[in-house]
Subunit: 405 residues, 2 copies
């Protein structure tokens, strides 16, 4: 239908597109499809009973408050809980350094709104989180993309990228989405030191940090940066914005994430959030707080780790069993995703068509590359299917790959 | 604290400011304050028990779904319910014409994102909803402001404004926020016809349409526009985007609003929403649907109308009793707000300081004017205080005004 709106779209819409992942999710809703395309947590581990009890308590004890407008900054006890949680990882911040967002995605959007002028260049990983590209394309960002390998962001030539004058650096150091890799400690140190030397601030996106299935916890960039600025302890320097979420540890349907930032940045983000949605749902914030408090979240994260570790192992085993030689995949130490590289010049988008005929789905890698490269890569999610489904899915996909090779 | 972020804000932040209202809300949290500043519904009429029952049912019957990611467009049964609800007002649209937003505020933000280029001019009322200005200032909009009177938008000289080439027209025809006035039927017709003639599309913001306390329901612009395009019935032309919300009829703490738009605009809004917050909370959408369905929402709206009508009457009576001669106020037929005009050159911001000393608060009018005029005006909310509090509050405020005059 042609309407008076048709000729009136803003220029920035030329850079905005529907996420291939979300469009695919629709395609893969057929019940006989085994989909590794989404980034969905396992619904069978959602703590439904705890949510029922929490809804009852919140509404019985604070009903009118839970249903009323609330502050843009977020529910104070939840911000305090997040500050305490961060302190356990060594990140010493005040509740006033925490802004509750409507999912981590909103944090990316608000950051784009307050920092990105059209044409600004951002230093990102290649591949990087597609949601960040979606959020920032709308602000007409350009990208300086630095490749990853199995040890995360490659820092050997990062000074060239820093000299190109990026507005900020955006990285996912833990269990990268989509690549599944983790940035090695020495690279984290190099990155933080060079960022400091070039005066470029960092956005550290850490949705999966708690979901580690093997190996030792590595200090986040926000800590390493704090150590640069102080001889003892790691006070918050304010130069690293740290993003995380309850989507992977409690439930994504709540849409609850958070940003840790210096007070002046929080103030600007709050202004942007007032115009964007006034505040995040009071009810979901209070219910999430009620579910998480008193140690439940820690216990629940331990359960998730067990379930997801088993699924990761099942996928690694199935890949070794069913995938042809010449195909490379990452072996993630945590998170939800694993990254497959096909021999050149294979095209994952073509493979996907054949895969859907076999009722198995994944996300082709190109949408994670700001420069549209990566045609021979794809992402597999291992959190959302049982080990048996994972084996069957990889068997189907392996068959497609064998025939294509 | 000065950080690497301090010098990196985007140009658009120069136009973004914290809402005076929301900052004031903090100031007026003192327990002895009687505040008419916020736009808060009466918490004592929130259907808390119904929300408790709905949370139980939704989580017991669809727990994993309610806690999982869901589509950007919104929960299908809720979109269908909204389409049916619109049909009762004569607005014939499909569920695919409905997008669920994180409060009506998000609809304003997404509209700004897909339509407004820096410098674009928007035809707005003077005064207008401050949240729209906040949302659109971030996209560097300019405004063509057309004054209101007691019969709503003045259409006598609107062709001058239309000739200035606005991208779209933004109006609140029913029980205007902040002015409390309603656009007369003949003005609605003039506006729709002239918009059609000049080829300018309209955004109709209608958060309060159901909260009418006297007089007859007036057809919304979206209907009148439909009639222009068809000899019989009022099919949806797509030229009017219609916005509404559950914030005033169910609970604002849910953050649930909606946009009705042609399919092509919905598609663009969905792209923008993917980058903004992926989707609105699945849980709150499902719970709101569960509370609203089966006729409950209609019954509840009748209760709200009774309570708010009583409060409006109490405020009108208290104003007549306590306010000095020379002060003018509007007599709203519905909604939550009433608008006061002081004799020039009185300054409502100065009056507010004295009022706060007397422990009574309101919102000065200037923030509702895109050109910063309106210093001698202020907004009073009548939904959030009991009749007794309203009388006491107006007594205090009347005293301040008597001394100032």
């Amino acid at each position: 239908m042609n309407t008076l709106w048709s000729q009136r779209y803003a220029q920035r819409t030329q850079r905005m597109q529907s996420s291939a992942i979300r469009e695919l999710l629709k395609l893969t809703e057929r019940p006989d499809m085994i989909s590794f395309a989404g980034g969905l947590p396992a619904p069978e581990v959602f703590p439904v009973a705890e949510f029922q009890a929490a809804c009852q308590r919140v509404l019985a004890e604070h009903g009118p408050q839970a249903l009323q407008y609330s502050t843009t900054e977020g529910y104070r006890p939840l911000r305090e809980m997040i500050a305490r949680h961060m302190a356990r990882y060594g990140i010493v911040v005040e509740p006033d350094n925490v802004l509750i967002t409507s999912g981590s995605q909103q944090a990316l959007d608000l950051i784009g709104k307050i920092f990105i002028n059209p044409g600004d260049r951002l230093l990102v990983e290649k591949p990087t989180y597609v949601g960040a590209l979606q959020a920032w394309n709308a602000y007409q960002a350009e990208y300086i993309a630095v490749p990853l390998d199995d040890n995360g962001l490659r820092t050997d030539d990062i000074e060239t990228a820093l000299r190109a004058g990026p507005k900020f650096i955006y990285v996912l150091p833990n269990f990268h989405n989509p690549a599944g890799v983790t940035m090695a400690l020495e690279r984290r140190q190099v990155l933080v030191e060079l960022a400091h030397r070039y005066g470029v601030p960092i956005i550290e996106d850490d949705p999966y940090g708690q979901l580690r299935y093997e190996g030792d916890h590595l200090p986040p960039l926000v800590i390493l940066d704090g150590r640069l600025h102080a001889s003892e302890g790691a006070p918050y320097s304010g130069n690293v914005l740290y993003l995380s979420t309850f989507s992977k540890t409690l439930a994504p349907g709540l849409r609850l994430g958070w940003v840790v930032a210096p007070a002046e940045v929080i103030r600007r983000l709050v202004q942007a959030k007032q115009g964007a949605d006034l505040h995040t749902s009071t009810l979901t914030q209070m219910v999430a707080y009620e579910v998480a408090r008193g140690g439940f979240l820690d216990r629940h994260v331990r359960l998730i780790r067990e379930v997801y570790r088993e699924r990761r192992d099942a996928m690694l085993m199935a890949l070794a069993k069913h995938f042809p030689a010449g195909v490379h995949w990452t072996a993630p130490h945590g998170g939800l995703f694993l990254w497959v590289t096909l021999p050149e010049p294979m095209d994952a988008a073509e493979i996907l068509k054949a895969a859907i005929d076999e009722r198995v789905a994944f996300v082709p890698g190109a949408s994670f590359f700001p420069d549209g490269s990566g045609q021979n890569t794809f992402r597999l999610n291992f959190s959302n299917a049982t080990p048996a489904k994972i084996d069957e899915g990889m068997r189907r996909l392996g068959g497609v790959l064998h025939r294509a090779l």
